[in-house]
């Protein structure tokens, strides 16, 4: 559904994107993760044709965004963090103006969407009086009109309360279930990405440093938080079992490794073991691993 190929972009001579590529299949929810300034929003900007690409190409359902942005964006709905509406106009008038830019405004469809996002009672109030959550619901309504096939969400749950976040997550998952909606989800909230996405990419300093299924990240490899001295002996023994050092005194081992055997070997080697805590590698761990400052 969405294909991003070798995107590069420079801002003031500095590389913002260095050949980003990924693909999102129809009906898939795909997460983009990265620090501030990593290049997530630039990627989204290029997909939406708001930012020009230095090189590379984006296609939506086979239509090139660079060559035919209007046609390509017909299938796209987008939501940004802190959606900016015309505060002095009602929610309904905002919908009319924004949706009217895509084509005729279908009142019936708009009413249905407004009801679906739970804004019916306040839709004729001025947006200036809306809470952040209501703005986000209105943003969702405008992005779903007329009928997009893919939603691009840029930090959509930022600033929402836990209830709002849950509502938003359930809504997006519901859209996928009902309409087979494809979603590109750009977020800092790792738990959200973990709960919503099928696959995830990690962008670091304009480069894609990781891509994989979220299920693969829920890695079943045995992991240990291990402290023992002398450290040299510990490292030697653990590496002998194929252990791999992770940030924060954490080690992961090949799947077949038996942890008691490792501990026994440590003791037999004369190491004083002070902590052995089994840990599961979470998405946060993966994220931190790929974004730790000692990475090249």
């Amino acid at each position: 559904m969405l294909s991003v190929k070798n995107l590069t972009k420079k801002f003031a001579g500095k590389d913002a994107l260095k050949g980003i590529s990924f693909e999102v299949a129809r009906g898939e929810i795909y997460g983009l993760l990265g620090h501030n300034g990593a290049g997530k929003s630039t990627t989204l900007g290029i997909i939406l044709s708001m930012v020009s690409a230095g090189s590379g190409e984006v296609t939506i359902d086979g239509i090139s965004v660079q060559k035919n942005p209007r046609k390509a964006l017909r299938k796209v709905g987008a939501i940004f963090e802190s959606p900016a509406f015309y505060d002095y106009m009602s929610g309904w008038d905002n919908l009319k103006v924004l949706v009217g830019l895509s084509g005729p405004f279908d009142k019936k469809a708009a009413r249905e969407i407004v009801e679906k996002v739970g804004l019916t009672e306040r839709i004729h109030s001025k947006v200036g009086a809306y809470s952040h959550g209501m703005r986000q619901r209105l943003a969702l309504a405008q992005s779903l009109l007329p009928e997009p096939e893919i939603l691009l969400l840029d930090e959509p749950t930022d600033g929402l309360d836990p209830e709002g976040i849950k509502w938003f997550r359930d809504f997006i998952l519901g859209l996928r279930k009902e309409r087979g909606m494809t979603v590109l989800f750009n977020s800092h909230l790792l738990s959200e990405v973990e709960q919503m996405c099928d696959r995830v990419s990690i962008i670091r300093a304009g480069e894609l440093v990781y891509e994989g299924a979220v299920n693969d990240l829920r890695d079943d490899r045995p992991g240990l938080r291990l402290r023992a001295s002398p450290e040299g002996t510990m490292t030697e023994v653990v590496k002998g079992f194929g252990g791999e050092k992770m940030p924060g005194d954490r080690w992961v081992f090949p799947e077949e490794t038996k942890i008691p055997t490792v501990v026994r070997a440590l003791v037999e080697a004369g190491a004083e073991v002070s902590e052995v805590t089994p840990v599961r590698r979470s998405l946060e761990d993966v994220y931190l691993e790929h974004n730790s400052s000692n990475k090249p």
Binding site: A72, V76, P83, S102
Partner: protein, 281 residues
Amino acid sequence: MMFFSQLRGELKKLFARKRTYIGYVVFLIFEALLLTLWVKVGRAQFEELAERNFIPVELLSSSLTATYWIMGFSMFLLGSIYFALVAGDIVAKETEDGNMRMVLSRPISRLRILVLKYCAVMIYTVTFVIFVGVTGYGMALLAMGSEGGLFIWNPEMFILAVYPDRNEAFQRLFMGACFMGLSMCVVSSLGFFFSCLKIKPAAASVMALSVFFIDFVLQNIPFLANHKDAFITFRMANWIYVLQENIPWERIIESYAILMGLNISLFIMGWMVFQSRDFKT
């Protein structure tokens, strides 16, 4: 059809803002002030001038003549500032507020977005000038009654015209308001152009006003008197020729063709900048 519906949306954005109406209110107050000054001070001087030149005072000291003065002064003093403010906001404010990202995420070309905004600003400009004319005339009617014709005197543009017939005077004045509206479109085009650049809305307005007033000051430097035709503000002032007894259409068409060319050039330059811009948070 779609274009007009989108244009309606653009006008709605413009007219739904309360501050748009602050401008209307300010103009009404300013017009009332000018009219009061005219009735209390200007009228007597004008009547004396008319008598010295053997012009029948009862025909010329009228609501239509007062309207002419109100329109001329209020537009020059306040109109330029006001149009520069509105046009300077039209793109830059939406960019600053983040609305532009919402707009650009829709399947619509940037050219079309700008055409819609430009048309909205031009409609606003012309109708605003006509509003000032109509309300100025309404106030003058209340203060001075409906009698009398129209007396036009502008030594800088070498115009002296007298219209004792009220119908003809009214038609000429209305035509004048329309042409004045077209002239003021240049200020709006300047504001629009600067609004397309990557600058704050206030900066766009200040830049437009700076160009306008620098042009006006240069135009009035004595040693440049023979080159007045080269200045935008002189061309803009050509609206007054529709009030001349024998309208010099050739001169008017030439000036408005130049102004239109300038407007189109400003639009194209603004579009080129806007088209090449990246819109990020």
